[in-house]
Symmetry: C2
């Protein structure tokens, strides 16, 4: 079996972040790892796991204490349990036909070897998906690599306010050529996909938790069919995989990784949407939150993100676009000049400096509504870029 | 005339931040400065201004370029203009009777020499008020010095949402023994005073822009009478001073200076309430903003404060109290233990660690909804305080 088929097989055999599978694949590659995993003798598997556990990447794979002890001193019991769970599944799927069967159902399979593989997921390191199953008419390369991307996510139990804001932000993002990634769920996700589609440019990608043989949740089937018809649907799960709660959480890391930035529109304090924000944070990608009424529990998670996790507040599509293009994960397509290097505050200070006359620092502060100290600091930065000149009595433009 | 009478006179003669008056008072003290100011010969005043301009505090007084050039090379013209505006006003007021006249109208006068002078305004430096006129039944020392204070301010054109939140926050603040300072205006200010009074402990202070012979705005007269009856009203303006736009803006520096922290509940992008936030920022006092719907222009200024000026988001009275007690300007009354030293995020991580068992870092992260990296960093900090102990497999409580 080649690596491509082996990746498809692994997507069926192992949970998305199965640490033992990860260790084997990292050490031996997908095809050889699969051979080792499915051999009748568990002793050879045990040896292979022990070997993988000694590799430098093992610690990276073992994200929590339980994983670590499993990989540090891999017991025969651990090998047996892994062997059992993989062979159990292997018995119920024709591994070698997975790709062909999917193809007949209109489902493609992408692997890191494909040109159109969205390289951004590789930032997940050892937790990158084995491969990605896909349906749709848009090219993953065009949607996810050639353009800036943003995740717009949030609570299933969205309010009318949240749904409206998510739709407006997604429409504005798509109108600016930004692909909107979300999870295809009820509430904020659905509003985001709908808003993006409404821009008429098909710039949206739904990442589902279960197999793509059916569209879940049922109530979003029409919407997801529209996403398929015009844009793109992805999942790391092969056909016939049920979207369990664990798969939903694991799926969120893919949404975060595909996106230059993640915007949470509404989330209660324990909403799953916060896990997408946490995954984006793990990847050092910017996280933003949309504020809402403090009297609305659906916005409490957003406010906490801003208060305690340093999430940026986003109130319109311009601010969203600014966040996405400022992301280190953004392609930086488009012309970059000095103005693009300015923070929003510095830009505002610059705008307060008239084109031809000299303005005092205090007057500039009054005009842009910032403190004098902040304006002075901003003017120093802007002056360093050669955009303004500081004189004895104030500041004048140089551009 | 003694310093106390001279301060009352200055409050009538000079605008709150008249740089020439400030320079004279700083150099010669209020009484001697007043003598110099009102002498018939402008030449002696010119000499005095020149002398004051050479003192080290002159640069501090001259906050903008125009002031600075006036004080750097004080011309005879500048002395003449100052002389003219002060003498002009002196002609229409009986300076020596200001305090007695006010007293007959039930208005007191506070100066830095009084025990009950709210020392916090001295942080304004040369721009501290000459003195403060007051009406009310509460002691300024009790309300403004013995207790923590918070400014709750915002737009006159408040929405029902903003008024509700301002009232709830003010009630919650007063219930926690925090004095609520505001500007007595329509909208957010009125809701804040009303909310604070509703706690039944009279912990509110209205700082007005005009003279205290009448209550402005007229529509708030009943509310301001209630504030007078139970609490405190202050103004730097003597009786019969009209509340001009400039006086409103100057007044905001006093609200900011009297308060350990400033909370803006609703403010449009160009709302005057933002100037109070800027003055608090100038004083290095914490500024907070209440989020609201992004679809509401009345919240746009709050969101900008959070996005661009680093204002903290406040969603309830607990968060407000946390902000106030964390302020460097706060008295720090109450017992401080290690728990009080923790940030909200660290506190949440600590809460996720069970009392008796060991929990993995990943499980703690899941429980408190933060990223693993953030939780690990928090645990290091908490461990340094001796509150938890890090073990090979996770973390356990030590308290």
């Amino acid at each position: 079996m080649n690596d491509r088929d082996a990746r498809a097989a692994w997507s069926a055999l192992a949970e998305p972040t199965d640490p033992v599978a990860r260790a084997l694949i990292t050490e031996f590659g997908p095809a050889r790892a699969l051979q080792l995993a499915l051999q009748p003798s568990v002793h050879q598997l045990h040896d292979a796991i022990r070997h993988a556990a000694e590799s430098p990447s093992a610690d990276e794979i073992a994200v929590d204490a339980a994983d670590r002890s499993a990989l540090r001193a891999p017991s025969l019991e651990i090998a047996e349990r892994a062997h059992l769970r993989w062979c159990d599944r292997a018995g119920s799927v024709r591994l070698e036909d997975l790709i062909d069967d999917a193809d007949r159902a209109g489902i493609g399979f992408l692997t890191p070897e494909d040109d159109s593989w969205p390289g951004a997921v590789e930032d997940l390191g050892v937790n990158a998906p084995y491969g990605l199953w896909m349906r749709g008419s848009a090219s993953p390369a065009d949607l996810l690599t050639a353009r800036p991307t943003v995740a717009i996510v949030g609570a299933r139990a969205a309010t009318a306010y949240g749904a409206q804001v998510a739709g407006d932000l997604a429409l504005g993002a798509a109108e600016r050529g930004i692909t909107v990634v979300s999870g295809g769920a009820y509430g904020i996700d659905a509003a985001a996909h709908r808003g993006a589609l409404s821009a008429g440019q098909s710039l949206t990608c739904a990442v589902l938790a279960g197999g793509l043989d059916r569209f879940y949740p049922r109530g979003n089937e029409d919407l997801l069919r529209a996403v398929e018809r015009h844009a793109l649907i992805l999942s790391e799960a092969p056909m016939f995989t049920a979207p369990t709660r664990w798969r939903f959480l694991a799926r969120n890391r893919i949404i975060a990784a595909l996106s230059a930035a993640t915007v949470v529109v509404e989330a209660a304090l324990r909403s799953g949407a916060l896990s997408t924000a946490n995954r984006a944070d793990d990847l050092s990608r910017p996280v933003a939150a949309v504020p809402g009424p403090v009297t609305s529990p659906a916005s409490a998670g957003c406010h906490r993100l801003a208060r305690e996790n340093g999430a940026v507040l986003i109130t319109d599509a311009d601010e969203l676009a600014e966040l996405v293009t400022s992301s280190p994960a953004s392609d930086g397509t488009g012309v970059v000049d000095e103005l693009d290097l300015l923070s929003a505050a510095d830009r505002r200070v610059l705008d307060a400096v008239p084109p031809r006359s000299v303005i005092s620092c205090r007057a500039a502060a009054r005009d842009c509504g910032l403190g004098v100290d902040a304006v002075q600091a901003a003017l120093q930065r802007i002056a360093m870029l050669g955009l303004v000149e500081l004189t004895g009595s104030g500041v004048r433009r140089r551009l």
